[in-house]
Assembly symmetry: C2
Homo-oligomer: 607 residues x 2
């Protein structure tokens, strides 16, 4: 070993000892005939004191930032203690030093507030990883990993590795494929998830499975998506939904405790997908704050909204509202005194293309009991008062109303709610609120193809009560205009999402485990018997040999770490991430390959 | 939950309790009006007793092998206890049962001694995985995984995930590549190992890294090779070879303890590569038994072998021996009474194409002090006695002598030694002997290209003493015939292999961490400056910014598990393995993909 101690280890109790340290030069501070150097390694920073003799040697062999050095010396008590770092009580009086490796000046400073831009830091990721801010993220990631493994182990889950070179069965997302040299013209696919394998493991009787595993999706990358990402992937046999919810809220609570020191003793809230959409306009609501949506008028899932409000709209003749499919409101607390400039800015905000509304109606519920609205023309004081009462607004609130097509309006109101919550400081990074969202629709309607698609994936079971509906009806949609009246439109999935602070951190379902039902599902998704057999014959086969009831969940590990680390960006929590074009700019990958390689793989480029 | 207890859980203390179990029907035994069923799950087997009433129900709803059922009933003390299973004291008097899923008759029996052939079991891997023999292997694998992680965690290693979609830098083995849709004509590669990433993590100051990680090599598959395999991959900073040896023999000892209950207190033996080759003819010797090679005549690494023996060969005029490049002998204990049939069979054994020798010479050292040889024509009693003394043979030994070209003869003698050890029961599956093999040559000579290739990989450092030899000499080989006299031929690597019972289970090295030396290495391997920059520019760059001394090791996880499980085959320890053509016969992968997929990837087939 090049060291007797790490740079984070020495304390007052070590004073008087001869030690050897090795690490990186963080700073060099010369004071006349003596020099102080902060030496850094993964574990901390230790102050080195170079006295008069060595100071001269330092002049001959100057130490720059990020040089790697080894020093020996005596542990002294510091005269000027630094209470901010664990080694702040001591310093090393260096008797000998040795340059292990020099360093040229880094392209950016290795500090929390670095001067390096994003591109530069990605190119020199190995230097960016030295910064404390990034190091803490990677350490947190490991702590989450370790905590999850311990919990799952204690609950009898087994880590079983599933293959990476599998078969392409594109269903929703695109597969990354791998040409096979030994089987010319054939391809492996990289797994989008180990879904079918973990189900097979249940069929094989392994009872409880987990894996912290890389998955791959060849999607057009949106901000903060990665082509390769990590899941905490779990599956259990002989369970119903309730068993899964309890087991895995236990997992997240354990991670809170181990990683953040948080005792999450609150019961985890549960909400149906329907309620989440009605109350928050969103299937992953942030429930750290209220400001719930008031459904004044809607077509959502057969809801009509508030009839009294609609009577007021009719009476006022305000066509924007009478003709709108959906009218939604939120009451923003304490904002009744917003200025014209502020309400104009909010109007601009909802008109941005990302939100896409035509305008914003507001009602100020003034502290003195009067009302003021952007629609004063249509609503007299009495109507405004009634609307405010319908919205549950209190004096001092600012009611914001959006109107338009159902889907867009609901989404926009949800975004507006989150924005106002953010502006009012209601979304605190150090507050964590878990939520189970339940009872999702099993199917979504795909208009272009006039067929059903699986909302979760084709292996998700309907609610037990809904199985006969699924088995007993023809999935074909004869009347496209009225697809909502097809029996399949109301089938709910035995599925659940775990939501943390407005982010979906995990999702799963109780699976189909009967061949007949699985075949019906493939049929419902427009897959022919032959296609189903070609793609999933092994699973259909497995279900014939005694498949147990089973279900599971997968957590987005990158996202979970980011939220626990108080960040919006998963990239900060991945050691070697790719950029938004799927490139690794450090490696400069992907890249062209040799003709020899192409020939061996029996493929040619058609670029 | 479908159960109150597992099938492995109930004991005498549970007698009288009402319980619910769920699992698979292992066997059905009818005795007149009652029926016994063994119910199986991952945790064990519990006997169920169906009394008179239920027996009738069973007639209406017969339960077959591998049916999945749920039963409720009372825990009874068995009259006929089974001491062979942990639940053998009790049985369940079933009051209610419920078929959760039926099963058709499996294509082979789910038992230790199954009647299923290899192909059938691979196709129905999900059924094969139910067999106890396979389940034990998968459980052992998890135990090894868990033990390794715990040890590494306690020693401050961090699990840091490295990317799977990287850059193709074929060097030795072929890469699997992945066409990039978003970057037409460009490809990612799947990692052959995380080698460069773990080195970058050391440059980034992470100090101690590990990962249990999938790696990929597109090689022509030999028996028991897999295109995807798992490594326990580790790296440490500020270490010399001795630190690594101690840390990682600690890891393996911990695994022995946790997984096998073995206290491996012996010091782990160490041997130079040179000694291993001379004494065992093999760089991964099985040291559970002696029977070492006697180098009667050789050209290995400048050794001449035993001169007295060569004098005897000359005097006898036995051209097979006088003209051979190498003559090697082993003394097989207690086999002097081998019959003609037995020695003939051994002769045939060495003449098989896999061994490839022309013949075998033996000397029987009879118990009465006389000698008898297949070369009596050339050697009188006195010469045989002297040769036996040179070979260190005792009365009762059978000396086996092989002669021919150095490389083939050494390999053949090594194989013969292992074969004789096997036949004599000296290679016990329950005996474990570790060995470090050290001081490998840094380079191997590639005749076709008349250049050096890296024996380990291009990042392995020479022994510190040998660095000046490497830096100070031109790697070009001017005189191909005398490549052995080139200074590079004698450079030893700062590398180490861990050998367990004759299998290499891990290997690693102290790495190059200076840009100049790394460039010299690439130069020595015939890589141009441009090529080195294109392939490994990021690493050369990283070495400029303060790279610490570092080194590491990678263990072949599949192989390690197989040896600990007493098996020769890694396939038995992989949940979903591929066959020797790299196919997953269960999935039927690889497979053809859609033209749409090919088009999106901008590739066409040239099959």
């Amino acid at each position: 070993m090049y060291r007797s101690h790490t740079c984070g280890e020495l304390r007052e109790s070590n004073i008087g000892q001869e030690v050897t340290l090795a690490g990186w030069v963080q700073t060099v501070r010369k004071f006349g005939s003596i020099t102080f150097i902060d030496l850094r390694d993964r574990y901390g920073i230790t102050q080195l004191l170079f006295g008069e003799t060595l100071n001269k040697e330092l002049d001959e062999q100057p130490l720059g930032r990020e040089f790697v050095i080894q020093v020996s010396g005596n542990v002294l008590e510091r005269t000027n203690k630094n209470p901010n770092i664990p080694t702040g009580d001591i310093e090393i009086e260096v008797s000998k030093f040795n340059i292990l490796n020099k360093a040229v000046t880094p392209p950016f400073t290795i500090q929390d507030d670095t001067d390096g831009g994003d591109d530069l830091r990605m190119k020199f990721r190995y230097l960016d990883l030295r910064r404390n801010a990034v190091k803490r993220n990677i350490e947190l990631r490991y702590a989450v990993n370790r905590s999850a493994r311990n919990y799952l182990h204690e609950n009898h889950f087994m880590d079983i590795e599933t293959p990476f070179l599998i078969k392409s069965t594109p269903e929703g997302a695109r597969d990354f494929v791998v040409p096979s040299r030994m089987n010319p013209g054939q391809f492996y696919a990289l797994p989008q998830s180990p879904q079918t394998f973990k189900q097979l493991l249940m069929v094989s009787g392994y009872d409880r499975y987990y894996q912290v595993v890389k998955c791959f999706r060849d999607e057009d990358l949106r901000a903060d998506r990665q082509p390769e990402f990590t899941q905490i992937d779990c599956e259990m046999s002989f369970v119903a939904q309730e068993d899964i919810l309890q087991m895995f809220e236990g997992l997240i609570k354990r991670i809170f405790k181990d990683v953040k020191g948080i005792d999450y003793t609150d019961e985890v809230e549960r909400m149906s997908w329907n309620d989440a959409m009605l109350r928050y306009g969103n299937d992953k609501p942030d429930i750290r704050f209220g400001m719930e949506l008031v459904n004044l008028k809607t077509v959502f899932e057969g809801e009509s909204g508030n009839l009294a409000a609609q009577a007021i709209f009719e009476a006022s003749g305000f066509k924007v509202l009478t003709e709108a499919e959906t009218v939604l409101a939120i009451s923003v607390p304490g904002c009744s005194e917003y200025t014209r400039k502020q309400t104009d800015e909010l109007t601009e905000w909802v008109k941005r293309p990302q939100i896409g509304m035509n305008g914003l109606i507001f009602i100020k519920c003034n502290a003195d009991g009067t009302f003021k609205s952007s629609a004063d023309k249509f609503f007299d004081e009495e109507k405004l008062k009634n609307l405010a009462a319908i919205c549950g607004a209190k004096a001092g609130d600012l009611i914001l109303i959006l109107a338009g097509r159902e889907e867009r309006t609901r989404k926009a109101t949800s975004e507006l709610r989150l924005e106002m919550g953010e502006r009012l400081g209601m979304r605190r990074k150090d507050e964590f609120k878990l939520l189970w969202v339940l009872d999702f629709p099993l199917f979504e309607y795909a208009e272009e193809e006039n067929r059903w698609v699986a909302r979760h994936h084709p292996f998700t079971s309907p609610k037990p009560d809904h199985i006969p509906v699924m088995i007993g009806n023809d999935p074909a949609i004869k009347d496209a205009a009225n697809y909502l009246s097809h029996p399949y439109a109301n089938i709910k999935a035995n599925a659940y999402d775990m939501v943390l602070n407005g982010n979906e951190i995990g999702g799963g379902s109780i699976r189909i485990y009967q061949r007949e039902l699985q075949e019906k599902m493939f049929d419902a998704l427009g897959m022919s018997k032959e296609e189903a057999q070609h793609k999933f014959g092994f699973l259909l086969g497995a279900f014939e040999y005694g498949a147990p009831p089973h279900g599971g969940i997968a957590f987005g590990f990158d996202r979970l770490c980011a939220i626990l680390g108080g960040s919006e960006s998963i990239r900060d929590f991945i050691a070697f991430p790719k950029n938004n074009s799927g490139r690794d700019v450090m490696l400069d990958a992907p890249a062209s390959i040799d003709d020899k390689q192409l020939n061996e793989l029996s493929i040619t480029l058609s670029v």
